[in-house]
Amino acid sequence: MAPALLRKLLSALAPAALREDLLEDLDLGYRERLEARGPVSAFAWGLRQVFSFDWFRLHRELREGLMSLFLQDLRYTFRSLWRSPGFTAVVVATLGLGIGVNVALMSVVRAVLLRPLPYGGEERIVSLWSQWDRFPKTWVSVPEYRTYRDTIGSFDQVALYGTGSGNLTEDEPERVGIAQVTPNLFEVFGVEAALGRAFTSEEAQITPMDSDADPEVVLLSHRLWQRRYGSDPRVVGRRIELDGAPVTVIGVLPEGFQLPVDFGASTRTDLYFPGAVPEGLEPIPNGGGSHGYFAAARLRDGASVEDASSEVLLFNQRATADDTYSEQMRFRTLLIPVAEDVAGDARSALWILAGAVGFVLLMACGNVANLLLSRAQERRREIALRSSLGAGSLRIFRQLMTESLVLAALGGLLALVLAHLGLAALKALEPGSIPRLSEARLDLAALGFALAVTLLTSILFGLVPAHAATRIRSALSEAARGSSSSRSSQRFRFVLLGLQMAMAVVLVAGAGLMIRTFANLMAIDPGFRSEGVLTLRLSTPEASYPDAGAVVSFWDRLFDEVNAMRAVGSTGAARILPLATQIGDWGINVEGYVPAPDENPAGDWQIVTPGYIETIGMSLLEGRSFTDADRADSELVVIVNEALARKYLSGGSALGRSVGIRGRDGARPTRVVGVVRNVRHNGVTAEVKPGFFVPLAQAEYAHGFTPRSMTLAIRTAVAPETLLPEVRRIVAALDPKMPIAEVRNLEEVLAGAVAPSRFTMALLVAFSVLALLLACVGVYGVVSYVVSQRRSEIGIRMALGASRSSVFAIVGRQVAIATGAGVLFGCAAALILTSSMRTVLHGVQASDPLTFASVPLVLFATALAGSLIPALRATRVDPVATLRSE
């Protein structure tokens, strides 16, 4: 026989399947050489056999054999899972749901919050906004822009841009979003033209900001280039027609590029033209001037957002001290990193939801842990039997590992399907107010992470106790006796259950708060009636409608035609639609109102046609509405809202008083002819500010210009969409070059305004229902286990005369304690965690007593529901049978 050292080395290296044969060959070969050439040569030969690189190849060749072993494990696993379908179904469903919702939501989080923006070096880009008492976040003025550009050292470049819309009138007319930008905008955003070139400062001089000059050169968005110009590279240099005037295309922007304000907006910018900022040394006018632009800055290398913010704050303080901005105005410049600015309100909601699904995953893990613990307990006997029959502990370990893997794989598969459906549902549920949601794709990294967490759980709670069973040979006898398991193991389960309950409390409390928030939002009266109103936007460019008279007569003719349609109740048009576009304010001088020294009376300015107030269902409190008699040459009139009447026209009726529109003072007096109820224009929860309405026909005299774009509203008794073809025909007949844009019914507009809250609420409710379901399954699992473990004890008690209710109490007490502790702990945690929801709540405190009082009820009901069936089973334990078996 070969020396022991060689034999040992060889058996360590040889594959198990061939170990015996190889040892035999080693022995034979060694003996032959020993006889022929002596021990040294034989040993050298033996060493050569042992140290061969071909062991690896041999192992590889034999792997098929290992595979077949794995297949055998797999078959066994499927058989054993098939035999306990309840267990399998619950574990797979739990894993599938827990992982599925996580993957779906994390995919959204990734797309909306974590995916890079289409900018170069986005971490150095900040959006600039203004803030003062009446406006929490609003536009920037040209003088302010100049100050930021010239005095803030932390900024490398600052760009200014304004957005609007216009009609492409060559060939098929189309309405597109337009932006006027300073030529350095593309440098600020770190992008270059994909085709052609960007603007020069000479080109910008032709069309200064705040001027009506027609642009001569434009850049196209990649999207427009693809859609309208068929991705034709020869478009560069071509003359196209914007609002009837020719412009030259000088380039195409890179794919995906859009302005920060375009994310989540219904109309996105497709056409860019340059604008120069009027230079001059005059200081910022009092109040900052006309705020109407967006601004963005790129930070200088080495400067942080904090550096820039503190520099800007210094400017704010100086400008307030020297009375450029009044003390009362509390003017501040907001610097927001562009990624944060783009995500906007969706940011906090999504992180809240991400936290919620995290809890759902933990609860799912808790359930799986509990279920596997029970299963391991039940299988102690089987495992002990197998190990005593000679199954190696490695073999049993591998078998159990296979089972964990199979369960995780099945759960993962279900999760993949559910995540796919969930993501589609999320996209369908959300009407576009969450930017970049449409770009969300199933995130496989999230799937991998969630799978890893659950796999770890199942290994920890499935393998460890089962593996322990292979060591404890006494498990055989123990299991045979059916004695109750150790107290500590039971206690561990209840702790686990309590933790699950606590997590469910947090989720249910969050959902409760959102339900109350949404109910509050729905209870808010927007100030108009949204049902049965079709709205669409039309614009009357200067090329075809040279003056105010032409614009007004177009609308008059349009109303005549539309009103003649069947099923049309009334029509009207407004400069901007409430809850769709933000409204700004305009300075006013009110007769008889003496402003405080620092006060600038102002009102949200709206321009409407006769019939608009009736069409969207606003209510007139006093006086009259506009009529066709309010013409350019008649007395100038305004209608004011309640807020304006209360603030500036208190003491007697507002009717007949004069409201002067700043900048046009002294032209002709403007008299109040009506007072209307407040309309929630800038959001359903935004404070309604003083506002006034001017008739379109008089806008030229009241404001100094006539709006070129208006939204048409048509009230009808039939489904609003059915009117559209006829309206299109009428518009085309009046002006074949006029496109129709932003077609919506007013109900969609209203729904869109509460959509973010509805989205958050719907998801939190869904997650908390899921959490309750998981808690219910958790309770069921634990109680069934306890009942099965204490069957003999219960039987003996019943034999000794215990009533059914007292048996019920034995089981119920433990569940009640676990639930109670979970609820207490959960409420404490929820009080801390829900405070992070403050920004998404409305009309309800984060510590809302009603919510926090009802959550425990829901949880106890869940616990009762979960324990009912197994507890009833406990009361049906047959005392005679128990006694016989003892």
């Binding site: 015996e20 060959d25 034979l28 061969s52």
Partner: protein, 98 residues
């Protein structure tokens, strides 16, 4: 495969190794030989079987390899192919021993 064929009923690992060493002058480790054997077995050219101890003193159970009909067929085919190639080389008359 030739070695398996030549050894006939006595084809097991150690014997194969010895024969290769003696006839081809090549020393291959047992592992190398088994790699080849396992591959041939997967392709279905040889089969293996553990057989009980031979009735001589000290004889133990061994794994014996045997050619399958498919293996025999493959061996014949490769022999024929070699022969054809050799013939074509002689016909060219350019073959010289190096």
């Amino acid at each position: 495969m030739l070695a398996v064929a030549r050894l006939g009923a006595e084809a097991y690992g150690a014997a194969l190794q010895k024969m290769l060493e003696e006839t081809a002058g090549r020393s291959a480790s047992i592992a190398t030989i088994y790699v080849t054997l396992v591959r041939l077995e997967k392709k279905g050219y040889v089969t293996s079987r553990r057989e009980g101890p031979t009735p001589v003193r000290g004889g133990k159970a061994k794994r014996y390899f045997r050619l399958t009909p498919k293996g025999v067929e493959a061996l014949k085919e490769s022999h024929a192919a070699l022969e054809r190639m050799w013939r074509s080389v002689s016909r060219l008359g350019e073959f010289k021993a190096r």
